[in-house]
Amino acid sequence: MISVKGLRKDFGDVSVLRGIDYEISKGEKIVIIGPSGSGKSTFLRCLNLLERPTAGQIFLDGEEITNPKTDINKVRQKMGMVFQHFNLFSNLSILDNITLAPVKLKLMTKDEAQQRAFELLDRVGLRDKAGAYPAQLSGGQKQRIAIVRSLAMNPEVMLFDEPTSALDPEMVGEVLSVMKELAEDGMTMAVVTHEMAFAREVGTRVLFIDEGVIKEENEPGEFFGNPKSERLKDFLSKVL
């Protein structure tokens, strides 16, 4: 479904990604871990071109999204993204946050979008917040709304960039459980996280990115139970 070939990204003189090749199939849940500054967030942000790759190609369903001729806005409609800092539109109510894109992009009428928004709000148990503004919500609530906002576009893939890193510990669970449900529904997901339990439980593949390359990659059991590289052993010994 997503195919990455020779992906490189430089920021000025700094090489953050130094050649990444990877395939994500439909329905997979890819969990990306690694030390900070390793390039894992940059990798994720390259997948929907929030960062423009310096070199390499990315394909979504066979279409090369790194081709300048591709309409990136169309591609992004199929790829939801959830950010570390939620990034809810702070000038809009929760309901408007969710319905803005489907309505402005003429994918749904206002009524359809609102109906869909309420369905999704029910799923995350936040229907009563529809009229509130983002500033009135807790971190965990904001992140659940952010997930709903992405889902309102009916994406094929969901990208999560450290979705629980900015949350108070007691709110991590509510966000992770929404993500788990999403995974059970068969959503294709790529998740950058430090939640090792989540990686083990939900991930179909786990990637260890370090120094801009995929150092190791495996299914979760082998990945955590039998790490091959010294670097990963060292990393896991510190975080587990």
Partner: protein
């Protein structure tokens, strides 16, 4: 001349020969010039401010014809802001009246155009500051759900930026109102010159100038009052 009582002075300054007309007609002219100049200034300011921001924000991917156009526009805008902010408004007014629009018969037109162009440079910087102050996560979130740059700007960034720069914008409005007093230099009978004409006729300086000062003060207080109401209404989304 025998010493006049305040009452006699008042009658002589404002009532004899219906001299108060100099003040009211002047006030009318001042308001017309200020409001029209502000409208022009805001229009120029929005366009210039957005061009400058679009250029700075998209530095990374300025490619092709669009990139070149944006670069050229950005240079033009920077030159405009530099020249306008670098020269006194009075000099600009005199140049406009005696050099550029020498054939124009309407002094109001000359004043409106001069102050509109002058104000545009300051408003552009105010808007630029407002747009730059918005967290870049807001733009990223808008783009990640598939909205275009323009859609994200108009629905998310500009409403927030407008709220952020409202105090500075009102500041500019107030400065503009008072700065139109230099229009006397091209013989436009605005408020200040109205008072000055009375002073020249009756040889009493105090009352006409105080009256003029008082009217400016009252107008600024009215503007401030309405700005307070507007701000309170815009603050709705900040309620916690």
């Amino acid at each position: 001349m025998a010493a006049q009582s305040l009452r006699e002075k008042f009658i002589q300054d404002f009532l004899t020969d219906r001299r108060w007309h100099f003040i009211t007609d002047g006030l009318k002219t001042t308001l017309i010039v200020t409001v029209l100049a502000l409208l022009i200034g805001i229009m120029i300011g929005i366009v210039v401010g957005i061009i400058r921001c679009a250029h700075d924000q998209q530095k990374g991917d300025l490619r092709g014809a669009g990139g070149i156009i944006l670069r050229v526009l950005n240079l033009v805008c920077r030159a405009y802001v530099t020249v306008i902010r670098g020269t006194p408004a009075l000099v600009q007014l005199l140049i406009m009246y005696f050099v550029i629009l020498v054939s124009s018969r309407s002094k109001v037109f000359v004043a409106v155009l001069t102050f509109g162009i002058n104000s545009g440079a300051y408003v552009a910087e105010v808007f630029r500051g407002g747009i730059m102050s918005i967290d870049k996560g807001q733009m990223e979130a808008g783009r990640s759900v598939g909205l275009t740059y323009v859609q994200t700007m108009t629905n998310i960034i500009l409403p927030q930026a407008f709220k952020a720069c409202l105090p500075a914008l009102v500041n500019e409005f107030i400065a503009l109102l008072k700065e139109t007093s230099i229009c006397g230099y091209i013989g436009l009978n605005e408020l200040t010159r109205g008072g000055d004409i009375i002073r020249g006729t009756t040889f009493d300086a105090m009352l006409p100038l105080f009256a003029v000062a008082l009217i400016y003060l009252a107008m600024v207080m009215i503007i401030t009052y309405f700005m307070g109401i507007l701000e309170r209404r815009l603050r709705r989304s900040d309620i916690r």
